[in-house]
């Protein structure tokens, strides 16, 4: 099966028009000695056989264990309209809207998406999406290096460990010094951060809520960074913005995050999208595509890709980033999700996450020998200190069919007794109760 529609007659006529005897002649520019030495692939099949094959493979997945794990990806409700509308073939099978007149659907949607991101984050401008939260953070770091012309970054240890690793990987070949600041009691240490800041710091990178779930009013840190001429980069969890003061209000210069929780399925880690927003004065330093409003020849409103002279297809090695394809469809899903939730619904969603997590925190924290690590307020994720090694507990509970959380020790060796637990709106009181019972059993039986 190859979806090639030409019939033998078609092919004959086409070859005649070209003036060659056979299709193989068209490969004559490829020297014989360069031909494939092997192409050892299985025989093809019909779509019906394919479906069976794929089902057998999928069945090797035994348990769906979203449960109480987060760590950057969250199990949230997705309204049915998100799948149906984003699956419209006109969105789904189009490409980057290079020709605006026949791409107004995608362009207007992306403009509306940018608007939603600005309003959530309290920033002035957003691009049309990046790959994911981690790469968005790396792009933000590189943007800060460009804006300030400095070469030092201060990154808080409470930033998702994967994100920190991505930032390090992206910058490994550039002459950039990265200073990591250890959090204290699950939150950014003010003295340590002050000590790390210098007049060579391009940016201070924070996450809110951080990997341990702690919420922080980072306004003081933004002021402190800016006083030294550095930018404040905040990586945020978009659902929290339904109730938490926006990073814009807290004074952030660049805001990034992962849009998975906005209407994108877990899908074993992708695709989701990364968002990035900043203030108007830095718009030319943004990576990736940006949609702008304009008018047509009759003065009618329309949308186009704008400020393209920043991008790789024009500026090549001097571009603000190498990104070309982004995660447009996932950003569209994010927009449809936000429109469906609406102003009140989105605030309610945040509150629901918070309430359930607070309840779980109380129930789990009441287990003998268990305490809550966070001294700060948390949103829908929190860290428990267990009387036992958390990895062993998690492994045991997985066998019982429950994903109790992420053992912090996987990424913070000194925290081997700590467990990061996530509670979204999808978890019921009953499930929380069951987790408490099983966790208690794992610890004390």
């Amino acid at each position: 099966m190859s979806y090639c529609p030409n019939t033998p007659d078609d092919i004959r006529e086409m070859l005649a028009a070209i003036g060659v005897a056979g299709v193989e002649d068209l490969f004559s520019p490829v020297p014989e000695e360069l031909r494939a030495k092997s192409f050892n692939l299985p025989e093809g099949m019909s779509e019906f056989e394919l479906f069976q094959r794929m089902r057998l493979l999928a069945e090797k997945n035994t348990q769906n264990l979203a449960g109480f794990i987060g760590g950057g990806y969250y199990d949230h409700c997705i309204p049915a309209v998100v799948d149906h509308l984003s699956g419209r073939a006109e969105f789904y099978t189009a490409y980057t809207p290079y020709q605006p007149e026949c791409s107004q659907g995608t362009l207007q949607a992306l403009f509306e998406y940018q608007t939603a991101i600005c309003r959530l984050t309290g920033m002035e401008v957003s691009n049309a999406s990046l790959y994911d939260g981690g790469t968005a953070l790396a792009e933000a770091a590189m943007m800060a290096l460009r804006v300030t012309g400095r070469n030092r970054l201060v990154i808080d240890g409470g930033v998702n460990p994967f994100y920190r690793e991505i930032v390090r990987t992206y910058l490994a070949n550039l002459e950039v010094e990265i200073v990591e600041v250890s959090p204290q009691q699950g939150i950014t240490s003010r003295p340590a951060l002050t000590a790390a800041l210098s007049d060579q710091t391009a940016a201070v990178i924070l996450q809110n809520p951080n990997f341990f779930g702690s919420l922080d009013d980072i306004g003081d840190l933004a002021e402190e960074a800016q006083a030294k001429g550095a930018l404040l980069i905040a990586s945020v969890y978009p659902i929290s913005l339904g109730m938490v003061k926006s990073p814009g209000e807290m004074g952030a210069d660049i805001v990034v995050g992962d849009g998975q929780s906005l209407g994108n399925p877990l899908s074993f880690g992708g695709p989701s999208f990364g968002f990035i927003a900043t203030t108007k004065k830095y718009i030319r330093n943004l990576p990736g595509r940006i949609v702008g409003e304009t008018v047509d020849r009759n003065g009618k409103r329309g949308f186009v890709l704008t400020l393209q002279a920043r991008e790789q297809h024009i500026k090549r090695h001097k571009a603000t980033s190498n990104i070309c394809s982004n995660q447009s469809l996932c950003a569209l899903r994010g927009l449809i999700f936000l429109a469906s939730m609406g102003k009140e619904g989105f605030a309610e969603l945040a509150k629901l996450n918070y309430d359930k997590a607070e309840y779980a925190k109380e129930v789990l924290g009441a287990i003998r020998g268990v305490s809550v690590l966070n001294v700060a307020t948390t949103f829908n994720e929190f860290t428990l200190a267990l009387p036992k090694d958390a990895a062993g507990v998690v492994e045991g509970l997985l066998r019982e069919g429950i994903a109790a959380g992420v053992p912090a020790g996987l990424y913070y060796p000194e925290m081997d007794h700590c467990l990061v637990v996530t509670v979204t709106e999808k978890r019921t009181r009953q499930e929380i109760g069951a987790l408490a019972k099983q966790l208690e059993g794992a610890l004390w039986s």
Partner: protein, 124 residues
């Protein structure tokens, strides 16, 4: 006051040791509607033919190279809000920067108007 030109389509006019630098009308026309001029920092020291500033239109981005070595003493901040001035008057109000000339003998590396016009004609 004579005007000199580079192969990269910059012009320069020198008065009392200060060079006024911009892009030629030909270059402005080639770029189309200018949307942004990236001005240099005042005080920046530049060498002849090094990048001085940047200029963008909807579909193109180019560097502007300095025709003479020296120090940037003034930039045309009017272009920040109205980059279209470069389209309207490239060789006058659309100047980019003033450079305090380090070495006037560098002018011998440039073209005069007649030579530049012939050069442009050869490109078409």
């Amino acid at each position: 006051m004579d005007t000199y030109f580079t192969k990269e389509h910059e012009w320069v006019k020198i008065k009392e040791g200060i060079a006024s630098v911009g892009i030629t009308e030909y270059a402005a026309h080639q770029l189309g509607d200018i949307t942004f001029v990236e001005l240099p920092q005042e005080g920046k020291v530049v060498k002849q033919f090094e990048a001085l500033a940047g200029i963008e239109s909807v579909k193109a981005a180019s560097d502007i190279y300095t025709p003479v070595s020296g120090q940037v003493v003034k930039v045309n901040t009017a272009l920040e809000d109205r980059p279209e001035i470069v389209n309207e008057a490239a060789e006058d109000a659309g100047w980019i920067a003033w450079v305090k000339v380090a070495d006037e003998s560098e002018l011998k590396n440039l073209m005069n108007r007649e030579q530049y016009e012939a050069y442009v004609k050869g490109l078409e």
